[in-house]
């Protein structure tokens, strides 16, 4: 099992604690674990894409920033715009729906994770948390289908800020 898969399992475990009256702490940590499972899924693959040196990969993975992965994910989603933003010319003509789902899930989970970790004014319900974990599980499945594609590579390199501005 990879670290990303373990985090996904941990999210499910936390969401299932205290079936009658779940603690906010458990639900919030479940959301955070679900987000980080997708984050590590992507950056671990990104690091492997950048270097075959297994000793260097953890260090390369640390160079990925949450905001830059989010920006790159939004750029993938925006490729369907009438004037798609950079790095449009590098993507293969049609972006796979699986990649779009992975990117949208990542963006949505990151926002939810911010609320879960920092905004105590928000009260989380179990169904909301189970929905987030389910979306993360589906993103893992989708990523497995397209992780070797050209568009996935462009997304990862853009996430790592390895593509020039233009």
């Amino acid at each position: 099992m990879s670290f990303a898969s373990d985090l996904l399992d941990q999210a499910s475990t936390l969401a299932g604690l205290d079936p009658m009256k779940p603690k906010q702490a458990s639900l919030r940590r479940a959301i955070s674990a679900a987000y980080y499972s997708v984050f590590h899924l992507l950056i671990d693959d990104g690091a492997r894409r950048i270097t075959a040196n297994t000793m260097l990969q953890p260090y390369v993975a640390r160079s990925f920033q949450h905001t830059s992965v989010k920006d790159a994910a939004n750029k993938v989603v925006e490729q369907s715009k009438s004037t798609p933003p950079w790095p449009a010319p590098l993507f293969t003509a049609t972006i796979e729906p699986e990649l779009i789902r992975v990117c949208t899930t990542f963006v949505d989970l990151q926002s939810l994770r911010h609320s879960a970790d920092y905004n105590t004014a928000v009260l989380f319900k179990r169904a909301q948390v189970v929905a987030a974990i389910s979306r993360a599980q589906a993103a893992h499945q989708d990523w497995a289908l397209l992780r070797s594609s050209n568009n996935a590579t462009v997304f990862l390199l853009h996430s790592a800020k390895l593509l020039p501005a233009r």
Binding site: P22, V107, S111, L112, H114, K125, A127, A131, A132, A139
Partner: protein, 92 residues
Amino acid sequence: MIYKLDEESKRMIEDLADLQEHVSAIHASVQAGEDGQEEIQISISLLPSFSISAPSAETGQILNNIASAVRNRATELPVSAVISFSKEGDDE
């Protein structure tokens, strides 16, 4: 707050067409995210009949397809969208 969601765009995003099998309501508003950037926050309420007692990838695929369909409606807007799900009548 600089960007204002116009009524036509809001109506288009919140349209339940094609989603009524699973969705009871959609609410869209512009808010600042944690990073300070404005974003369209879209909250999707699932019907009480939508089964979501335990996490599953199958449920996740349905939700991600709903999220993609709703987000597509906002693609041409100058602000990015963030989507969250809740369930109508969820007391836990």
